[in-house]
C-alpha cells in the first residue's frame, strides 16, 4: 500500500513547480492509475515514490515504511519499471535479469527459479538467452518488467508501461497486471491513455499541472463530471484538452 501526502517538488531552485501538493492512496489488490497529460508531473511523482527524487515537502509511506528512515528497505519493497528501460545490449536477457537479482542480494537458486517463472508468465522463452541488441520494444519491456519484479515485490510501479507497444503486447501486459492484482499486489501505473485506465484501473488519480484534479473509481469520476464517457470526463476535470492527443 502506498500513501502519499502533500508531495511537492520544484526544479530550478523553485522556479518550476513540477508537483504541487499531491496526495493519494493506492491499496493492495487494486490497480491505481495516474492519469494526466504529458508534463503533468506523473513521472516526477513516481520518481519521488521510488525514492530517486526527494520531495521538497510532504511525505509518503510504502507498506508503512518511511523512505527517509529506511531508504533501502523501501527499494526492496518496490518493483519499478521506470520510463527509462535501458538494457545492457551485450548481455542476454537472462543475464540482464540475473544482474538485478544479484543487486537485490538474492541467492543463485532463487534467481534462476524466479527467472524461469517470469519467462513463463511473460512469454519470453524464445529470446531469454539472446543478447538484447535488436530486441523489439515489446521484448525490451518484458525484460524490463522481469528484472523489476525479480524479487517478487508486493508493490509495483510502472511509468507509461504500454508506451510503444503493439496491441497484442499491450493486451498481454494488461493480463499480467491483472494477475498481479489477483495476487494481492498494489499496482500503480502512470499513463496518458484513456483506454488504458478504463480497461485496467480500479482507481484513477487525475493529475494536471502538478496537482490532483480528481480521484476515484471510473464511475465516481463520471458522476462527478456529469459526462457520459471517461474521455469527456477527463477533459472536463482537468479543464482543457491539452496534451490528450500527444
Amino acid at each position: 500500500m502506498i500513501e502519499a501526502k502533500n508531495l511537492r517538488k520544484t526544479f530550478n531552485k523553485g522556479k518550476v513547480v513540477a508537483v504541487d501538493n499531491v496526495s493519494f492512496t493506492a491499496r493492495d489488490g487494486e490497480i491505481t492509475g495516474l492519469l494526466g497529460p504529458n508534463g503533468a508531473g506523473k513521472t516526477t511523482t513516481l520518481r519521488m515514490l521510488y525514492t530517486l527524487l526527494r520531495p521538497d515537502s510532504g511525505h509518503m509511506r510504502v507498506d508503512g515504511i518511511d523512505p527517509e528512515v529506511q531508504p533501502l528497505s523501501i527499494k526492496r519493497a518496490l518493483g519499478v519499471v521506470p520510463d527509462s528501460r535501458g538494457l545492457y545490449d551485450r548481455l542476454t536477457a537472462r543475464e540482464n535479469i540475473r544482474y538485478y537479482g544479484k543487486l537485490h542480494g538474492l541467492g543463485k537458486a532463487d534467481i534462476e527459479r524466479r527467472i524461469e517463472q517470469l519467462t513463463e508468465i511473460l512469454g519470453m522463452s524464445e529470446f531469454i538467452d539472446r543478447r538484447t541488441t535488436g530486441f523489439s520494444q515489446g521484448q525490451r519491456v518484458k525484460v524490463a518488467i522481469a528484472r523489476a519484479l525479480i524479487h517478487d515485490p508486493r508493490t509495483v510501479l510502472l511509468d507509461e508501461p504500454s508506451n510503444g507497444l503493439d496491441v497484442m503486447t499491450t493486451r498481454a501486459l494488461r493480463e499480467f497486471l491483472r494477475e498481479l492484482k489477483k495476487q494481492g499486489c498494489c499496482v500503480v501505473l502512470s499513463t496518458h491513455i484513456m483506454q488504458e485506465v478504463a480497461a485496467l484501473c480500479d482507481r484513477i488519480v487525475i493529475i494536471a499541472d502538478g496537482k490532483v484534479a480528481a480521484e476515484g473509481t471510473a464511475d465516481e469520476l463520471l458522476q462527478r463530471s456529469g459526462e457520459a464517457n471517461l474521455e469527456d470526463a477527463f477533459v472536463k476535470l482537468i479543464g482543457s484538452a491539452e496534451g490528450l492527443l500527444a
Binding site: S73, S84, G86, Y88, L103
Partner: protein, 389 residues
Amino acid sequence: MNAVFIKELLDNFRDRRVILNTLVIGPLMGPVIFAVMISFMASQAAERMESRLELPVVGAENAPNLIGFLERQGVLIEDAPEDPEGAVRREDEEVVLRIGPDFGEAWEAGRPAPVEIIADQSRRYTGASISRVRSYLHGYSQQVSQLRLQLRGVHPEITRPINVTVKDLSTPESRGGMVLAFLPYFILITVFMGSMHMAIDTTAGERERKSLEPLLINPLPRWQIMAGKLGATTFFALATLALGLIAFVYAMGFLPVASMDVALNLDFRVAGLAFLLVAPAALLAAALLTILASFAKSFREAQSYMGMVILIPMIPSFWILIDPSRAETWMTLVPLLSQNVLILELVRGEAVNWAWFGFSMGTTGLLAGILAAVAGTLYNRPRLIFTSA
C-alpha cells in the same frame, strides 16, 4: 558491489572493440612508437658521426695547405655552388666553407687568416656538421701555431696554461636513462588509455542507454554502485598497465642498444617495480575520468572531455624533459610527477629508494582515494541521473 564489478567486466569483455582498443592497441602503442622513435634517433646520430663529411669549399685555391690537411682528415672536398648563402638557405647544403682571396696575404703577414663557415644554426641537424668542421679547422690552427712557436724557439706548452679534460661518470645505464626520458609518459598514459573507455561506458554510457535510472532503483547504496564501477575501471587500467609494461620489456630487446653504448635497464624486475609504482595512478586515472564522464550525457560528449585529460600526465613528463634536474624528495610527493621521476631512477639502474617509493604511492593513493570518494557521492545528484530532468 561485487555484482556491479563482475557485470561491468562481463559486459565490456563482450565488446570486441573495447578489448582491441584497450587491451591490445593501448598497451602496444607506447612501446612501438617508443622503439621506432629511439632506433630512428640512434641510427640518425650514428650516421652523422660516422659518414664522411662532404664539404663544399669556396676559394679552395686560396689555401692549398689547409685543403690538403682537411683531405688527410678524411673530408671530401667538393666544388662550391654558385651562391653558397642561397644553397644553405634552400637546404641544398648543410655547411659551406669560404676561404677569401685575402687569406694568403694575411697568412704571409702573420695576421689571423679569415675563414667563413656558412650555415644555418637554427637547423638542428646541422649542429653535428658545424662542430665537425670547426674541430678540423681548430686542429689545423693549433698545428700551425705550434710550428710557428717552435720556429721561434718557444715551447708550445706555454700557450696552454690549463689542461682541461672531462671525466665522464655516466654509466651505460644512466645514459640509457636520457634516451628513455619519455618512457614514464608512455607508461603513465597506458593507465589513462586503459580506464578511458570503461569510465565512459559505466557512467555516460549507462545514461545514454537509459539504464542508469533503473539501476539506481535497486536496494543498494549509491556509493556501492559507483565503487563497483570504479573497481572495474581500475581493473582495466591495471590490466592495460601490466600488458604495456610487458610489451615494453620485449620492445627493448629490439632496440640497437649496443650501437648506442647505453644499457636500458628495463627487465621484468624493473617492470614489476614500475607496476607497483604506477598502480595508485591507475585508481587516480579511473576516478578522475569517471568523475568527468559522469557529468556527460552521452558517450560522445564524454569522449570530447577525455582528449584534454590525456594531456595531464604529459605535463610532468615535458617538464622533466625541459628541466632535467635530479630527483628530490619534494618531487616524490607530487602525484604523476613522482611516477615520472622514480621510473627514470629505476631505468637508470639506481638503487631503489623505498622512502621515495612510499611517498609517491602514499600521496598518489591519497589523491586517488579523495577523487574516488567524490565519485561515490556523484549519484546523489539528480542532475546526473536523469537523461531529461
